[in-house]
Subunit: 354 residues, 2 copies
């Protein structure tokens, strides 16, 4: 009986007077006699049939869903990644499952293990920090995983990295070339992946430029606008002679800009400011922020592509773990260079609003 509930191939088979196998074949484009074809198609459209994706997934073992797990969905960097990943996924006919780990290590590990429940075919993970437990979980991952972040060598999992060291070097070198010498550094938490790398980048850059490292010019705090403002105010009090502030991300840099404005410093004349990530915030600031684009979107895109390659039927998945690094790019704007980036330039176009 074609009773309640949405139509299934059984309802169609009854209505068309054929077997369910024929229905399935017609609907999947395998051969059938023209008349059979006709009757099945007619019945299907009359009933408004839509194939049940769950049943199909159960049958053929994949869901056409990818999971993207990030510490915090609100962060512009992750937003840039989500956007690209979803675009790649959509183009390939995959849906995107977005998971927020809320920067919780246990939750991150849980996501990796939950690959086993077959809810999604693969995972792109952005860990807030990488512990031995991560290495263990990733090694035993029950499905394909791509990690965005700096992964130790032995782990048999694809990885996409930013090159914070070179990125920081680009920024510091630019500041030095603009004549700055006392370059403060406002970092985020050093026990996180980004914080750790960016700190190393700053020191390496100073060394490369022949400028001695001065601990008094360096501070670590939380990532965030308010934290950046407070940290900058402290630095300013301790070392009024600083002539540039380099920040580990744009939010901190926005805070630095605010603190400098509040202290009556002119930007960039008295003090230059540079950030990292080149998020939308950079162009919102005044003057617009010079920032190092660490290729968040690019990293997302690459991660998604690598994951899809693992899922492609061709490879029996025996390809070795791959590592790739996105090249950083310095975007110079008014916060370090008086002439740069006039208002009304063409960047950041096209966003819609609700």
């Amino acid at each position: 009986m074609s009773s309640g509930g949405p139509p299934t191939i059984v309802s169609i088979a009854e209505r068309a007077g054929v077997s369910i196998a024929s229905v399935s074949r017609v609907l999947n484009g395998l051969g059938a006699r023209p008349e059979t074809e006709d009757r099945v198609r007619r019945a299907a459209s009359e009933l408004g049939y839509v194939p049940n994706a769950v049943a199909r997934s159960l049958k053929d073992g994949h869901t056409r869903q990818l999971t993207f797990a990030v510490p915090d969905i609100g962060n512009p960097v992750y937003v840039a990644m989500v956007r690209e990943i979803q675009a790649v996924a959509k183009a390939a006919g995959y849906r995107l499952l977005l998971h927020s780990t809320d920067a919780d290590v246990a939750d991150e590990l849980g996501v990796v293990r939950s690959l086993a429940d077959r809810t999604s075919d693969g995972l792109v993970l952005v860990p807030i920090r990488i512990t031995p437990a991560h290495v263990e979980a990733l090694t035993a991952a029950p499905g394909p995983v791509v990690v965005i972040g700096s992964l130790p060598d032995g782990v048999p999992v694809d990885g996409v990295q930013a090159d914070s060291v070179t990125g920081a070097e680009l920024a510091v070198r630019h500041l030095v070339e603009s004549g700055r010498r006392r370059i403060a550094f406002v970092n985020g938490p050093v026990d996180t992946v980004p914080g750790g790398n960016r700190g190393r980048g700053y020191r390496a850059a100073l060394a490369a430029c022949g400028i001695p490292y001065d601990p008094e010019l360096v501070t670590a705090t939380d990532f965030g606008v308010g934290a950046g403002a407070r940290a900058t105010a402290r630095l300013l009090a301790a070392r009024p002679d600083l002539d540039a502030v380099f920040c580990a991300n744009d939010q901190l840099a926005i805070g630095a800009v605010q603190a400098l404005h509040a202290a009556g410093r002119r930007i960039p004349r008295d003090t230059a400011v540079a950030g990292m990530d080149d998020s939308d915030l950079a162009v919102a600031a005044w003057p617009p922020l010079t920032s190092v684009d660490l290729g968040a979107g690019e990293r997302g895109r690459r991660a998604a592509r690598m994951l899809l390659e693992r899922l492609a039927p061709g490879s029996g998945e025996p390809l070795p773990a791959r590592r790739t690094t996105a090249a950083p790019r310095l975007v110079v704007r008014g916060s370090t260079s008086p002439g740069a980036a006039p208002a009304g330039s063409d960047e950041q176009e096209g966003a819609k609003s609700a």
Copy 2:
């Protein structure tokens, strides 16, 4: 045989020497003899068993997944919504499927219809515009839908709205109270939901304040920083006497700020600027932007909750369509008021960075 592939209840049953029914019962906490219980649990953990979510979904007819479909994932307003929706979903044990419609009407309709494939249990949709086709598709929706946006009355679907009219009125009234009289308005595309409503809000607000509507002070463009800057520059050229710019969102307002800076106007002394949405961009600007919080996060949260209520087993889903409106809130900062929002205030704390 317990051959290749991940362990199933069958493998466990074999190993424990019991039937699959017993395995299922033990694993779902229904009663069993202590010894049986023991053997099943031991076998399950030895094999590293994880239940197959797809099979379970097929059996009991729901996936514990929600879909959230937005025009553009990068937009801060939608980001705020995603964040809240994902939090609510996660707390209720649901996963979140994020879909970008890329502001394509056909795609929006497709998402509604695709509810029929049983991939997710419900949908939160943010349409870019609402056409008769939308009304039709929503009326025939094969599953529960909550729309964020302004929905016509007859449609049997839950809805959450922003109150742009009151929101615009708050901003305009605030500008008037600060002594402004020639208040320009930079809108986004008027054929979109937000553009249309905000335009009406501006006119209503002027009327309420007893200020005549002056078409020369009004312009519509795309949402976006560059568009805002160009539009403001045009307005400034046509009407140098304007003393405030009200923008339909923060991106436009950022653009306006840049254009005003470029024109040598001081903010807020010469010209005040106010935006809408109160996104992260507002605090990134200098001076920080006065903005109307239209409750994006709140709307997301409510939409998610309404959807979950529809899914709760208690109700046979016969509750009538509900409509709810989030109250707007004016956040005054430096762009309209000289003293407001000192640098280093506590807003926007805690974001993490990669």
